[in-house]
């Protein structure tokens, strides 16, 4: 079927295929899950790691970036768990229900699953897979077809654990859920987590994911999210980690009719971070905000890739992404809005802005609109530039020293994107992170 001549497999690809054969028997799941894993492994075998000749990955050549695949992470030891106690502090004093995963494995003693509010179910993906959980059997791998994505296929083959969250029809969660993913192992490892979140009709929920790592791990995390009709869901993902961390994340979201969906991705660390988000509008009258902010320094590479598929009419989507780039960092934004023929009255707007703090930093922007309907409003814009010298002079003329003037302007720039988060406490916590980042930049 595919006429493309396959390249010779890289060492990393061979190691990952071997890891699957070796781990397969130990990975959770019944015969159906094994069939799902096998099919995904075969797909990965055919696709390999994405590389620059795959259009969606042209700026983030994973095949070149992952020369060597790290061994699959084992169950966390006591030291690793102890280190994970402080993980997720990034959300500040926001009150949330913590669900903790260390090196990709659910840790019940660090998690708070007591007194779940009516309509809320939370369990570990490993347990759900092992026990043939009906929700997982029904939905996993089916929210969004991802046959062409090598990294998602790899995730499906090797997924070990993650969260399975169900919020019943009409239920409102007063407390946000905080999924804490901490890779605290001393030795660099490959971590595969997979989560499924289903928010039924008319329900209200907020889910925050924070990802942190202690070493040069290779993290491949995926989340499938179903937002029911009239539901209201906030999803925030925060990624940090050392400069040798490779973090690849896939969000696959299907949104029903008359729903509200607010997604925010905050990136403040990691060597190579790829956040890919696939959102599909299945019902009319839905409003979605897909936003993000990234702060990069050193040689960091952060790639935000977004595909928004308007399959139903009368929906509104707003995409706002801001990146602050220092040193020799590189920020990539690829945003694609697809408006199907039946999706009349779609209103979609995408805006990306890059602030370059150094001459060596690079911002790549690739917005795309694919419109098949004739009665729509769609637009995109992209800007990139240095700090405004005029504004800096105005601040300095009032007695504010140059580093503080720059910090104020950067905070203002990022703040505009962070305004998109509804939770005031989380907004403040993330602004604190921005202030900390700026302080470390000065020193």
């Amino acid at each position: 079927m595919n006429a493309e001549v396959r390249q010779i497999k890289t060492n990393a690809e061979l190691a990952l295929a071997q890891a699957y054969s070796a781990e397969k028997a130990r990975l959770p799941g019944d015969r159906k899950v094994v069939a799902l894993r096998d099919a995904a492994a075969a797909r990965f075998d055919a696709l390999g790691l994405p590389h620059r000749r795959v259009e969606e990955w042209k700026y983030t050549d994973l095949r070149a970036l992952i020369r060597e695949a790290k061994p699959i992470a084992g169950a966390p030891n006591a030291a690793g768990k102890a280190r994970a106690k402080d993980a997720g502090k990034v959300i500040g004093d926001m009150d949330a229900r913590r669900v903790v995963f260390v090196d990709g494995t659910f840790v019940p003693e660090l998690s708070d699953l007591a007194n779940l509010s009516p309509g809320l179910t939370i369990r570990s993906m490993a347990q759900a897979l092992a026990e043939g959980d009906a929700l997982v059997a029904d939905r996993l791998g089916k929210v969004m077809p991802a046959d062409g994505e090598g990294v998602i296929a790899l995730n499906t083959a090797l997924m070990r654990d993650g969260a399975v969250i169900h919020v019943a029809k009409g239920a409102t969660l007063e407390r946000p859920i905080h999924l804490v993913f901490a890779a605290t192992g001393d030795k660099a490892a490959s971590v595969f987590t997979r989560s499924l979140v289903v928010i039924e009709q008319g329900a209200r929920a907020m889910v925050v994911e924070s990802h942190d790592a202690s070493a040069g791990h290779q993290v491949n995390t995926a989340l499938e999210l179903v937002v029911g009709d009239n539901a209201h869901v906030d999803h925030i993902k925060i990624t940090s980690g050392p400069s040798d961390l490779v973090h690849v994340s896939s969000l696959m979201a299907a949104i029903g009719a008359n729903a509200r969906f607010n997604d925010f991705a905050f990136n403040i660390g990691g060597g190579v971070v790829r956040n890919q988000t696939f959102v599909r509008f299945d019902g009319e009258g839905t409003h979605a905000g897909l936003r993000g902010a990234s702060l990069l320094k050193g040689k960091q590479h952060i790639d935000s890739t977004l595909v928004v598929d308007h399959q139903a009419g009368g929906c509104q989507s707003r995409e706002v992404f801001a990146a602050v780039l220092d040193d020799e960092s590189r920020g990539v934004f690829q945003g694609k809005i697809v408006v199907r023929q039946r999706a009349q009255k779609t209103d979609a707007r995408m805006m990306t802005r890059a602030l370059l703090l150094s001459d060596e930093a690079e911002a790549d922007n690739k917005p795309e609109l694919e419109i098949f309907a004739d009665d729509v409003q769609c637009g995109h814009g992209a800007t990139s530039g240095a700090l405004d010298e005029g504004l800096k002079f105005y601040l300095m003329a009032r007695g504010i020293p140059e580093p503080e003037a720059e910090a104020l302007l950067v905070q203002a720039f990022v703040g505009e994107a962070i305004e998109g988060i509804e939770h005031a406490g989380l907004r403040d916590a993330l602004m604190e992170q921005v202030v900390g980042w700026l302080r470390s930049r000065g020193s």
Binding site: E389, G390, L391, F393, Y394, L395, M396, A397, R398, G399, I400, P401, E402, E404, A405, L408, L409, Q411, A412, F413, G415, E416
Partner: protein, 252 residues
């Protein structure tokens, strides 16, 4: 307090100020008038240290200390304040944050303690009330969504809070209607004091009806070509600048 000596300034390689001399003593208000393009705003900007305004010769002494080598923020901490002709908008930086950061940065540089939140709020509230500025506006981004008059009032508010020793007002009357002009001038007049000097730059005599100067200078082609009392402003209003443009042209 202020001594400008033989100041030569180039902007984009073009010479704008060509040997300007000016002395302003404590407690005095000097007006600098002149036709468009004479170098009025250049004088204001070079005093505040705007990038791109290069002093190639001469000195600007503030209490005997040459400020030309100083960064803009150091000049401000020494007591220099420039009220901008076109105040800039800074989306995302609340005016309150801006005011507090500026005030505390100056205090810190002078070795004074930072103000507590209640002390700061009290100061702002009093100053804003006198200038008829709604506190709600100060919670928004600096000058964002402000009318021309509101921006100018905000400049005077900053001046009132920072309590500079030398105020330079660049075309503060531009874009103001009569009511706003009155509020702004009253704000400036309240700040007149025996310890403070002011340099009021303006194209029109109108502002000087409200802020009455002790000395009036005429700037033309990069130099002060005439100095006199407040009556000089009225003379100019009647006869225009044409005569001085001739004088400047004759100068070597």
């Amino acid at each position: 307090m202020l001594e400008v000596k033989n100041l030569h300034v180039t902007v984009d390689g073009k010479q704008i100020l060509k040997g300007l001399d000016l002395t302003v003593n404590k407690g005095e208000v000097h007006a600098i008038m002149g036709p468009n393009g004479s170098g009025k705003s250049t004088l204001a900007y070079v005093m505040a240290g705007k990038p791109g305004y290069e002093a190639t010769e001469g000195q600007i002494l503030l209490d005997g200390e040459d400020i030309l080598a100083m960064q803009s923020d150091e000049r401000a901490a020494k007591g220099l304040f420039l009220a901008f002709q076109y105040p800039l908008e800074i989306p995302g930086v609340a005016t309150m944050t801006f005011l507090r950061t500026a005030l505390n940065a100056q205090r810190k540089k002078r070795g004074e303690p930072e103000l507590s939140t209640p002390e700061f709020l009290k100061l702002v509230r009093e100053a804003a009330a006198k200038l008829e500025i709604d506190m709600e506006m100060l919670r928004r981004g600096v000058n964002v969504g402000f009318s021309g008059g509101e921006k100018k009032r905000n400049e005077i508010l900053q001046m009132a809070l920072l309590q500079p020793r030398l105020c330079v007002l660049d075309e503060t009357d531009s874009g103001l209607d009569i009511d706003a002009l009155k509020i702004v001038s009253d704000g400036v007049n309240r700040l007149r004091s025996p310890d403070r000097a002011m340099v009021v730059i303006t194209h029109y005599q109108r502002l000087l009806d409200h802020i009455v100067p002790d000395v009036v200078h005429v700037l033309s082609a990069g130099r002060i070509v005439k100095t006199g009392g407040k009556e000089l402003a009225l003379e100019l209003e009647a006869s225009g600048y044409a005569q001085f443009q001739g004088e400047a042209a004759l100068a070597p």
